[in-house]
Symmetry: C2
């Protein structure tokens, strides 16, 4: 390439065109694709395996908190959605509406909707109203509280501009809905579930996130407080990675969730709701991905180790494949997720596929390695500088440690990247200077700056939003940034 830039698997690179790089990494890693249905995506097996691992881990975490899974209807009567005024206003603009329940032959061929429903049904954009309706029946007394429910499901919000994983008309998520006797318990629960999100993001997805409360204009429609974990992407923009809402008695009042209290009187329950979605996958990509593709955090990676049998001479293929599979079996006995790439495909293509898919550890095993009882291994996060040849025993003994190192390294470099891009600002002029460049990151401002009359015009001009009031500053500051 003679002095030019190094060849990368993904073009354009992050620096050249971040949004296109993002789409191309998804395609190169074979994680998802746009569907022929406007705004909806298809999650391909490699992307879905990541989601399954995320679900398994997170599901265990919420069950430890006493949450029970259940399933509520996809379709919500229009009248239910309308019960909470702010809530319906928040979702009315983006609702898929079912109006008919069958199809009949149309004049001139084809089919048309028939059987008009008496009341239109909404494909759930979120389920506070329909789950609240059940809670109103299930909760009679303070003895029925707390009630902690969760569902894993699809939801639909009709989006005009969509981007795979980040903003799609249909997405997969979990939505938790808890009910309590007192305001204090509900608030503590909303904060607790945010903690669980932060732990999940940090310890499994290697995402450093900032925990804080949303300003009033960024609250969930109908909430008294919204808490969020916010991540910084490699273009400096913010991604809201999970939210937890203290709904106070707002939904309980509008839906009628009443219980007989310890004082013998009827009271409205205090509820919370909390959700994370497939959006987190986009967040991982934009945090860890590089110009060669995806990097999967080992703890949730669909495949933690890929073994590529390197065949130089067809006569040895059987023996080399056997060698590779024996190593795989040893690693699987340790509970590791291992893929042996036996596809009919050229070795360099297999190598590049492993890189683009972001498999944490790549192992090459050819005839030379086989004869020596060795393997050659490369860390995806460190690239070819980390290449080393070692005995199968030595590799198997340290594979878990290597994966832990990779997990830690992904986290610490993302944290360093983020911390270098948070600027303290005091004035609106500071804020303006802070966002003069291309990948500006977050500005941390005193909360009072939001009241400066010059703030709103600048905010609108630069498309800034308040991300959260970080807990670490106890509500004295606010993070401001551009956001997904």
């Amino acid at each position: 390439m003679g002095g030019g830039k190094a060849k990368t698997a993904i073009t354009p690179t992050r620096d050249e065109d971040f949004p296109t790089w993002y789409q191309n990494v998804i395609r190169a890693a074979d994680m998802a694709e746009n569907s022929p249905v406007r705004g909806c995506m298809i999650i391909k097996p490699y992307g879905y395996a990541l989601w399954e691992n995320m679900q398994r881990v997170f599901d265990g975490m919420i069950k430890r908190e006493g949450v029970q899974n259940a399933y509520f209807p996809l379709l919500i009567p229009l009248s239910f959605l309308s019960r909470e005024a702010e809530h319906v206003e928040g979702f009315a603009k983006e609702c898929a509406v079912v109006t008919h329940h069958r199809l009949v032959a149309a004049e001139g061929g084809g089919l048309k909707p028939a059987g008009e429903l008496e009341e239109p049904l909404i494909v759930r954009p979120t389920s506070e109203t329909i789950i609240g309706d059940s809670m109103a029946r299930w909760i009679q007394s303070y003895r029925d509280l707390p009630l902690k429910l969760n569902q894993w499901c699809n939801v639909m919000r009709w989006e005009m501009r969509t981007r795979m994983f980040l903003r799609t008309s249909e997405f997969l998520w979990q939505e938790g809905h808890n009910a309590f006797e007192t305001a204090e318990e509900a608030r503590a629960d909303a904060l607790k579930m945010l903690d669980v999100y932060a732990e999940f993001a940090r310890d499994y997805l290697a995402l450093p996130v900032i925990c804080g409360e949303k300003t009033a204009d960024e609250r969930f429609p109908g909430a008294v407080a919204t808490y969020a974990i916010e991540g910084m992407m490699q273009d400096g923009k913010a991604l809201q990675a999970g939210t937890s809402h203290d709904l106070g008695q707002n939904f309980a009042r509008s839906i009628g969730i009443l219980f007989q209290g310890r004082d013998g009187q009827e009271h409205h329950a205090y509820t919370t709701s909390w959700g994370i979605s497939t959006r987190l996958i986009g967040g991982m990509l934009m945090t860890h991905g590089d110009d060669d593709g995806m990097l999967m955090p080992p703890k949730v990676a669909p495949q933690q180790i890929v073994i590529i049998p390197v065949i130089r001479d067809e006569s040895t293929q059987g023996a080399v494949y056997e060698y590779a599979n024996k190593i795989a079996a040893q690693l699987r006995d340790k509970g590791l997720r291992v893929f042996v790439d036996e596809r009919e495909e050229r070795t360099p293509n297999k190598m590049w596929d492993a890189v683009k898919k972001g498999i944490p550890l790549r192992v090459e095993a050819g005839q030379r390695e086989m004869e020596a009882g060795d393997v050659t291994c490369v860390r995806r996060d460190l690239g070819k500088d980390s290449k080393e040849t070692l005995s199968v025993e030595a590799f198997c003994a340290k594979a878990e440690t290597l994966l832990e190192d990779i997990q830690r390294n992904l986290y610490s470099r993302a944290e360093k990247f983020r911390d270098e891009r948070i600027s303290d600002v005091k004035t609106v002029a500071d804020l303006q200077a802070c966002f003069a460049g291309d990948a500006p990151g977050f500005a941390k401002a005193p909360l009072a700056l939001l009241d400066d009359p010059a703030y709103a015009p600048l905010r609108d001009e630069l498309s800034l939003t308040t991300r959260c009031m970080p807990f670490e500053d106890e509500g004295r500051t606010v993070l401001i940034g551009k956001a997904y």
Copy 2:
């Protein structure tokens, strides 16, 4: 009760009113309830935990078959559904149709649908067409085959008469969609997946099922052959518990799933699809349940053992609870699912709840047991005759064996029940005699009986259907019965 019949937890009993008994068992076991949304159900935590266990087991089984999970859009363009003529005809009468994508204020208050879609979208009743559309893009060459995909999702079929778990407008299922190079491979795959269903039903759900092929009139719309597992319920009616379809090239032709074959020519792929759903839960209830409620097969039971701390004197409550929890910890160390019932509730109510929920083993531990280091245990399938007191060590040592015995017993008594209710018939007159009673079971007839002109009128009069042509008779016979 002086000579009257024994008191049962569920009234009416199975004999008195099977359909009402069914609904009441669901309620008594707290598994599900009807929702305010017409035709849709709410799966409550205890019912959903059962589904999660079923999913975990079955998901492992299909992954061993090389199936990969993925996720495809909920909404299907009307034009997609219409591609396969028989298919659209099969589903047009029961489609939920999305026609609008937002809500606006209606004159006179409230909201009304707005933003009419150019093309209506159908909430998926099944996903052959939308997954086939992806397959058409993903499959280029014979090297891309076989392709085996599955999704766990919700589907919707607008039903006029619904019954929880058995027939609801929305239900949860898995739908597998595989594609192959040859007709033989597709047929073998459809049969293989039926085998997997039969194994799952038999070894995990304790459901004896008959495997066979559907007659042409009972085929899936668009299939060349439909294979099914059929169970017999305690009212003698049949339940189709899972189906596997050989779609031949029908969908590949209408959708355009083409690949370059080994001969260098373009060919249409051969596809299969196969599904099981939450309907299986209804099947387990109607197979194993009794007049005291549900019986959960131990292998998928949400709770395999319940420990009820029996408190006679409040001063010992702490010690007895501790004793119960120590036993639970020992059992959990063996990988068993154990629930310690520490609810503020009278002991007899806890006992009845355990019975109604069908928890396989009930353990009672009170002060007397504690002082002796004993527990008292009762098998749900055998009732109070099986009650025995034994040391904690002895119980823990045999708990797994007891659960295996219960699992086996549920299967063998269901199998016996069914086998006693299959009658060989030779003529239409035999058939009529066979269905003269109330809980007639299945008639097994020579296949030629279907061609007798007297058959169709009798079939219609008695609401009979052909259930399947059992493999064991190699297509010479057909099972006939009333069905859910």
